[in-house]
Amino acid sequence: MIGEQEIRRIGERVLRASDADETEVVFFGLEERLTRFANNVIHQNVSESDASVVVRAAAGKRVGAATTNDLTDAGLERVTAAALAACRLAAQPEDPDYPGMPEPVAVEPVDAFDASTAAYTPADRARDVGAVCRRAAEAGCNASGAFRTAVHEFAVLNSHGLFAYHPATVADLTTVVMTADSAGYAAGAAWQVGQVDVGALGDEAIAGALRGRNPQALEPGAYPVVLAPYATQDIVDFVTMGASGMMVAEGRSWMPGREGQTVMSPRVSLWDDGRDPQGWPLPFDFEGMPRQRVEIVRQGVVGSAVYDRRWAAKTGKAATGHALPPYNPFSPWLNASRLGPFPMHPAMGPGEHTVEEMIAATERGLYITRFHYTRTVHPREVVVTGLTRDGVFLIEGGEITTPVKNLRFTQSYIEALANVEMVGRDVHRERPNFSVGRAPALKIAAFNFTGVTTF
């Protein structure tokens, strides 16, 4: 770790070197260790140490940016000069929507740093992963997956005097356990490694693989489904991504014209909360503004989108602390130019049912472990295509009876959330993208399967 004091020194070094009208420094630090296993052995085991500054400079309403991971004085001078040169280019027209950089604002800290996660060693991860591999081998299965522990440091400084710093740890495990004709899956994430029960997750995946042997082909069509939280997480991610204030303003989301209307089951509530200690808190956005909880859907009624200062000013809405950086060195796709404001901490609220109760309430339907390779077919209704993966089971008479071969679906996720009949009481955590997502199991009245594959 570099630490708050040194990061502030680095940022102030840039601010002193810049004579732009406004200058901003976003700091990204990462110490990431990941142990990957397959065929019941560790086959990749890696460690990365990196830190970058992203410098944004403004000349009036012209803005340029530059980033480097060379944090020497020479490197910082170079990156500052590059950002200054970019914002002063003659061909760049003024950006009428540039809102300026924010004045200092109080950000209440949220604890997301766990010393034991930061200190987790390759030997610790090998011990945990090795146990999963041994249990899989004893069960006649083949385990694969990845176990990561990481330390992040985020900071934002600007020439108006704003400074915000946040250290965070994260641990996450994903595992797929296979037999000759089946697979099981489990995943978990938390900012405390002690809350990721690697052994239990391994056992869950082994049990799924063993239960799924000898799958039978099933005709495609519309079936009631019970979704494990892993599958629900995909729906939560796609639907909440449409809550970008930019996408809404441009009519490219499912939300425009639906605010205040009931378009989903009253059992469905979706929000984004960057301060939730049960997720992966990051209390400020990449402009240094405090993150606010935004109710995207409340009991089936469409709520609000998320906004950064740019899109808030442009649309007359209030900023909610959801700015992305001009460039993200660790997730380059997660940038403001491409996505606008972005809900990085999506969650779906719990219900009151167990998965067993959902299965018992299903006369004939399918239990789905997770989805694979999902992509948007049409954005307005969030029509998504993808496949099932790592465990599909036929439910008959309220019981799981038969493993089923994987199916392709093409389904509106908005329609699916309108047809939610039961919501799980347990909310599961995993790390699908940059953050930690939270989702429960769901029972949905109908889901449209449009094809089959051979396994």
């Binding site: 990957r36 460690s47 140490s49 990196d50 980033t67 027209p93 694969s144 990845a146 694979h372 594959t453």
Partner: protein, 488 residues
């Protein structure tokens, strides 16, 4: 540089590594983008670091750092060995890399006009001109344009004696127009989807694109799609345009021929492959006119280089010959493993040279280079004239395929009906689906070399931690019989 690479290798060996390699990578990227008449992205990206990969106690370890200083090089090399020893505690067969690779060389991708030599003001001007052309069309809601210049200098050294220095230069660009009307949202991209086409080459490739000259046409097509009839749902004859076929090759041939997937080491993330080792040399992948090749040597391809990231020379490797599956994308370790499985001498196994890392902070994985569908004999005009009833689709909009790479469904930005040998009405929301071997088995015509070029895919994801690779795909339009179009 050599002093630091030797320090890394010496430290690793002193700590007990039986093999070590080190890569030092410096990358400079310049991104310029406009959106609705304003500059939306103007960023210079610089990253420098090194990664040390070792085998110790028969297992792999890897450590990478952005601080290129002697004490940090020693620390990272020692950490890589410690990680390898931890890996070994979980068991498994010792790593076998096959025959040594000890090349000493330099390489640079060909480039006529260095993209960094072009003033950024000129780049902004070009994009704004294209943007203005798109926004002249009534009904267009959002317009975007982007240019990318990329220079990567990397040094590879190994304990086998390799020392290779390479400079790879890439240039990319593209524009997209979005039209929105009620619940209908349509987009058109040029020259390829996902914001740009990219290649190993220079600014000359952007000049050839003529982005401003295509802006108005593109925007007009996006608006026309709003009121076009929907693509029907039926089994029919399908002609795919070159950019969509490039992605079809990427997903249904490139990924399943990655030998690490076949051996299960990507099972937990991207998945495995239906092209198992027992099928090598005998399995009918496609019709007899289907020839697919992985070629890292093509000038201009986005997957072109001199040496891969474990020091193996770039090669041209047949994957499918006359419809029969004959080869894999491979690494040193996977080819040694394949040799053992086939009863051959692993010490003589040679990699196909497809190990690539997304940067200094990632280990190399088996990745695509330029995976190409070789050209056929048809002109595009003759191909359409020879088609009584069918649909032409082009430019990817959505893509999905199962984790063994069999069942796929793709959507395209644009489609046209074909009736009586002529292109007919514009169709929107086009989709097609199928199973990989059956689909390629229905390929009965491929256009000739005049219609063939290598398209860049700068967004290929794989691995944990995730890596984004730049791959190339040569393709010309081709025809496929009995394809399911639309969703039942």
């Amino acid at each position: 540089m050599k002093e630091l690479t030797e320090l890394a290798l010496d430290t690793a060996q002193a700590r007990g590594a039986t093999y070590a390699d080190v890569r030092v990578v410096q990358r400079h990227t310049q991104q310029v983008a406009v959106r609705n008449g304003a500059v939306s992205d103007l960023v210079e990206v610089e990253t420098l670091g090194f990664g040390v990969r070792v085998v110790a106690d028969g297992a792999w370890g890897f450590a990478a750092s952005s601080r290129l200083e002697r004490p940090e090089v020693e620390r990272a090399a020692a950490e890589a060995v410690a990680i390898a020893r931890a890996s070994a505690t979980a068991g498994g067969s010792p790593v076998d890399l096959g025959a040594p690779e000890a090349h000493v060389d330099t390489y640079r991708t060909p480039c006529q006009i260095d993209p960094f030599s072009v003033p950024v003001d000129d780049k902004i001007g070009l994009l704004l001109a294209a943007d203005a052309a798109m926004r002249r069309v009534s009904g267009v809601r959002v317009t975007e344009g982007a240019l990318v210049a990329w220079r990567e200098n990397k040094t590879f050294a190994s304990t086998e004696g390799a020392f290779i220095e390479q400079e790879l230069i890439e240039t990319g660009g593209g524009i997209v127009a979005y039209a929105v009307q009620g619940s209908e949202i349509q987009q058109r991209s040029y020259p390829n989807s996902f914001a740009r086409d990219q290649c190993t080459g220079g600014w000359e490739t952007i000049v050839e694109m003529d982005l401003p000259g295509n802006g108005e046409r593109l925007a007009g097509e996006a608006v026309a799609l709003l009121t076009a009839p929907a693509c029907p749902c039926q089994v029919t004859t399908l002609i795919l345009g070159a950019t969509q076929l490039a992605l079809q090759v990427h997903e249904s041939c490139g990924h399943p021929t990655e030998l690490d997937r076949v051996f299960g080491t990507e099972a937990a993330y991207a998945g495995t492959s239906f092209l198992t080792v027992d099928k090598l040399g005998t399995f009918r992948y496609g019709s007899p006119i289907v020839n697919l090749t992985a070629d890292a040597t093509i000038p201009g391809g986005l997957g072109t280089f001199g040496y891969d990231d474990e020091g193996v020379p770039a090669q041209r490797v047949p994957l499918v010959r006359e419809g029969i599956f004959v080869g894999y994308l491979s690494s040193r370790e996977t080819m040694a493993q394949l040799a053992r499985l086939r009863g051959e001498d692993p010490a003589r196994a040679r990699s196909g040279g497809a190990m690539r890392a997304s940067g200094w902070d990632r280990i190399p994985l088996v990745r695509m280079t330029n995976v190409n569908l070789e050209p056929g004999e048809w002109t595009f005009e003759d191909l359409v004239a020879d088609t009584d009833d069918g649909i032409y689709m082009e430019m990817n909009r959505s893509w999905s395929i199962d984790d063994k790479r069999l069942n796929f469904q793709f959507g395209t930005e644009v489609a046209y009906e074909i009736k009586g040998g002529k292109m007919g009405r514009l169709l929107k929301n086009a989709l097609y689906s199928g199973m990989t071997p059956q689909f390629w088995g229905g390929c009965d015509a491929i256009c000739n070399a005049d219609h063939w070029r290598v398209w860049g895919t700068p967004n290929c994801g794989k691995g944990q931690p995730s890596q984004i690779a730049h791959t190339g795909h040569g393709a010309a339009p081709a025809r496929f019989r009995n394809v399911q179009v639309g969703v039942r």
